[in-house]
Amino acid sequence: MARSNRELQEINAGSMADIAFLLLIFFLVTTTMDVDTGIARKLPPMPEDEQIEDDSQIHARNIYVVLVNSNNQLLVEGLPMDISQLKDGAKDFIDNNGLNPELSDNPEKAIISLQNDRGTSYKTYIQVQNELTAAYNELRNTAALSEFGSRYYDLLKTQQRDIRKKYPQKISEAEPKNIGENE
């Protein structure tokens, strides 16, 4: 009894910092501030019953047809194309402003029609989507620089809307084909 009284002392808190540091380092290491990134898209709503889609009002020159087959090859406006050329091709098409009679009237009317096979690999699909998005982003950036003097993402919301109105991103995805009979 006397002995315990004599030796009663506080727990040494000196190592508390070490323990806390250890835990801290554990959480520092395990924390993955993984920001999820991706390409955002909006799906078209399901068509109402018996609604017939009317494409006839869109002039053929305003549609940029991109087909991807099950071997991941591209056919753009009837001609085979390498994916590396797609961005420039799309840019030429969108920003044609009626110069070339085969390309679009103006960016507002330009529509990119994308159709892929069920056998197309997801990687190729994303690459195509990426190139098309890149084409729009570059055009928007150029427009933003010439009009407001700064990059598109640095603009105010209202300015961004103006640019978006000028270069609306119209990518239409047709119902997929199943030529390769792939699952």
């Binding site: 910092a17 835990l23 999820d36 909006k42 799906l43 056998g119 690999s121 997801y122 699952e183």
Partner: protein, 159 residues
């Protein structure tokens, strides 16, 4: 002079480290709170494709994930290598997606529903057929805001 010297000698107690644990604990709590342990165990192998034109996803609580890919190695004996869909913690069929979206919506406020996003985390080797089926189901479920999850980087580096 002598006064100055004596002061220097006698009075340098060193910085008190007594508050160090408190500071460290504060940091510790910060990291404990921000750490998000992965809630779902992945049953499918997903290596998302690379892309450059990517956007950060906002409001993680409003995002539902759909994983598409081949089953992981240890499950391949029972499930094969054909790409499968994973919703939450189980394999699913495309027909389950509408129900999945409905239950996801129930957990959120009505006001938040238009902002809910579905993130498609698909492996780059997956064929589009599966992805298209998923997208069709999402359209039926009226979950139109989607996001193709990608990694940052140029795919041209691979060539």
């Amino acid at each position: 002079m002598s006064k100055f010297k004596s002061k220097l000698k006698s009075g340098s107690p060193g910085i008190s480290t007594a508050s160090l644990p408190d500071i460290v604990f504060m940091l510790l709590f910060f990291f404990m709170v921000t750490t998000v342990m992965r809630e779902t165990t992945l049953f499918v192998d997903v290596l998302t494709p690379k892309a450059t034109e990517i956007r950060k996803m906002e409001k993680k609580s409003l995002v539902s994930y759909i994983y598409i890919g081949s089953p992981v190695k240890r499950l391949q004996s029972s499930y094969g290598t054909k790409p499968r869909i994973q919703l939450n913690d189980a394999f699913a069929e495309t027909t389950d997606i509408q129900e999945f979206i409905a239950t996801e919506r129930e957990t959120h406020d009505e006001k938040e529903i238009p902002y809910m996003t579905v993130s498609i985390k698909a492996d780059e080797e997956v064929r589009m057929g599966t992805v298209i089926d998923v997208k069709q189901e999402l359209r039926k479920a009226n979950a139109l805001k989607i996001n193709y999850s990608t990694r940052k980087g140029s795919y041209r580096q691979g060539f």
